[in-house]
Amino acid sequence: MTDKIVEKVAMQTEESRNQGRRAFLKGSAAVAGGVMFTQAANAAGGAGFDAKKAVAPYAGKAELTDVLQDGAARKSLGFGVRKYPYGMPSPFEKEVQRRTLEWLTPDSMASITMSPIHQLHGIITPNGLHFERFHGGVPTINPDDHRLVIHGLVERPLIFTMDDLKRFPSVSRIHFVECPANGALEWKGVQLNSVQWTHGMMSCVEYTGVRLSDLLKEAGIKPEGKWIIPEGADASGMSRSIPVELAMDDCFVAYAQNGEALRREQGYPIRLVVPGCEANMWVKYLRRIMVHDVPLQHREETSKYTELMPDGTAQRFSWYMEPNSVITYPSPDFKMQGPGKYYIRGLAWSGRGKVAHVDISIDGGRNWKEAHFTSVVLDKAWTRFEIEWEWDGEEAFLMSRVTDETGYVQPPMPQMRDLEGTNNVYHRTAMVTWRVHAWEDGKNGGLVENVQY
C-alpha cells in the first residue's frame, strides 16, 4: 500500500518537475525574445510596479492566468454548515499523511508512523498527523471506566476518576514529543530521501493536564520513594522508571491535546507528559503510578531504549532528548524551482530547554550564518527558523546546527559516529546534510538529496 502511494507521489513529483522545467524554458524563451523589456525594467531602476514585468500575456505564461475565468467555486453555492460536524482537511491535502515503512516491523500493532513534518507549518502538529508509536495496539477506553491509581511508597494510596483529575488546577504547555529512534535509520549511512522518514518520529502539540507534582503531593511520597513507575492500560502495559527529581521537574498528566481530548493514538483518555525526554516514558493510557525505592528494570529500559556501543557496552536510562534541528525546506521532499531567492526554513528543538541559536551552512559546515526565529521560542518545544538564501544554481550542501540555552552545540555526524559507533539505534541527533544538485545537472538539476559524511 505505502509502496503504491510512494510510487504515485514519485510519479507526480516527476511530472510537476517536468512541468516546472517546461515553464522555465518557455519563460526564458520569452525573455530571450524580449530583451528590450528587461532593459526597460532595469532602466526604471525599481520605480515600483512595472506592467511590463507582470505575468501573462506579457511574459508568455498563459497557463498561470487560465484560471482567471470564474469557475464552479464562484458560480455555484458551496456546502452548508454542519455538513462535517467534525471538520476534515481539503481533499486536495490528501497526500499529507503520516506514513510507515512496512519493513520496519512484522505487524502494525507494535510499529510506528512518521509525521509529514515537511508539510507542516508553524510549531503545532495537527492531532490527525501526530506520529504514532504503539507497543501493543490502540485500545478504545471509555473514560467513565478509566482510573488512575497512585500507590506504593506513599502516605495515602489514591484512586482518581477522570472527573477527579479535571478538578485539579490545570496546566497548558506546548512541548515536542520525540521517539528516541528518530533518525535511527541514518546511523550507518543514508537510507531514505525524505524528512518524513529521517525526522518524522516526532510531533509538537499543546497539552493540557494536571501537574504530576500536585498528584504526587496529594498522595504524599514517603522519604524512601525515589522512583515513580508509570504504567499504561493497553495490551503492552507500557512501563518505565523515572527518578523523582525528573518527575517533579515539569511532568504532568495530560487529558487534552491541541484543545481537544487526547486522540486514542496518543493515549486517550490520559497520558504522562515528560517534557524533553524520550517519548516512550510518556506512558499512554496511564492507569497506575507506583512509587518505588528502586527502578523496575522493565524491558523497555534494559533491552530496548538502551544504546549499544562499539565495544559491546551499552548506555541505559538515557532520558533526555538532545538538541536537534533539521531543514524542512528545501529538503529531499522538494525540488528547487531554479536559481534565485529561497527562504531556508526548518525546526529546532532541545530536550533540555529553549533553543538559543540556529545556524545555517550552505557549504557543508565550513561557514555558518545565524537564522532568525519565525515562531515563539518555548521551553522543550519546536522552534521555527528561517534565513534568506540567494541560490546561484551551483551545487550546495545545506546544514542546520542548533545551540540550546545550556550551551550545547549540535555536532556533525562523523564526530558522533566516532564516539558512539553505529549500533545505538537510539539518539542519533547529529546534523544531516541536504545536497542541492546544480540547476544545470542534467535530469537531476535542482534535486535535493540526503547525503552523509
Binding site: E231, G237, E245, M248, Q297, W368, R417, Y453
Partner: protein, 357 residues
Amino acid sequence: MYNTKRTLVVASVAALFTGSVFAMSDISDVNSSAGEKINGKYAANYEEIIKKADGKYLDRDVIEAILGKDAAHGRDGLVGKLDPANPYSFEVDDSIDGGNHGNSQCKVPKAFTEVHDSAAVNYFDDATFTARGFGTPIAEASLKKWNISVDGDGKGLPDPSVGMTIEEGGKIYVQFCAMCHGEFGEGAKGYLALAVEQDLVSSHVRDPAPMKSVGNYWPYASTLFDYIRRTMPFWTPNAPSIGDAGYMGMTGYILQSNYIVMDDEGTELEDDTFFNSEVLMKMNKYMPNQGSFFCDHRPVIHNDRCMTNCDDSLVGGDGLGQESTYRQARKLPDGTPQYNTPQRMHEDKPGVGHSGM
C-alpha cells in the same frame, strides 16, 4: 579505540567494587584558582561556575572549567562520567544500587542545576502545600490484579511454590510462543529472537548491528518474567489460562535456551528442574551481560559554535574537510531511492538496525 573503553569500564567498575581509587587519566587543571575539588578532580564550586555562565551547564568553557580540558572532547570525558562524584555523571554510588550485579540505578547529574532547582520548587519545598482532598483512598490489597510489576530485586515475583519444571514450561512455550519466536528462541517471521549467541562488539562501523537477545544482552532475568506476563502472548497478554505458574515455566525455558547458569559452578537448568522465583533470582546474578551497562553519559561532544572557516574535523568528508566525499542512499534497480534498499531487496532482515521493535 573502542576496546580501550570497554577495558576502562570493566576496570573502573571493578575498582569501585573493591573500594580502591577510581582510575582515570589526568585532567588538566584550568580552574586551579577555585581551590577545592571533588575527589581531587572536579571543581567543587561547579554551581557557582554554572551560575556565572547564566546557567549554561553544557557550554564548552563551563565543562572545561569544571571537569578539565580533556573532558570536553574525546573519550576521556566519557570515562570520567563513570565516577558518581563527577558533577556530570548519571551514575550513583554502589552503596545505593548494589554495584555491578545489583539493581543498578542512575540519577539526574548534579550539574543539571535547572532540573534540581525546578524539582525543589515543585515538590521538595512543600511548605505552602495543602492537600485538596481529591481522589479516593484505596487499599493496597485491592490492587492485586493491577500490580503486576516485578523489579530488579525480584520484588513482586510469585511465591516460590508457584512454578513448574522446565520440560512443562517448554510445552507451554511451544504452544504459545514458538510460532513467532522459534522453537528454540531463534526467532521467526521477523519477530525477535530470544536466544542467539552473538558477540556485541562490532569491529567496523559498517558491519551489520549485532542481534541483541536475552542471553547476550539482557541485564536482568527478573525483567523476563515481568515482561512475558505483562505482554505475552501478544494477542492476549497476562492470560489466566497460562497463569503465574505457566509464565514462570516459559521464563525458565527461555533462560535454559540461553544457557544461563545459577551459581559459580556453572550449574545449568535441567529439564526436570522445578523453576520458581528462587531459581529465577539466583540466575538474576549470572546474566552474562549485566556488568556491561552504564548510565547515560551524554552529551559526549562539546563543540564551539564556530561561524567561519571551521576546522576540517567539523566539516564533511570524514574529518578531511572534503565536502564532496559524501555517501548517498542506495537505489533500487528502478532508481528509486526512498526506501531502505537492502531490506526491501530482502538482503537484510526487517528492523531499525536491529531486529524488530
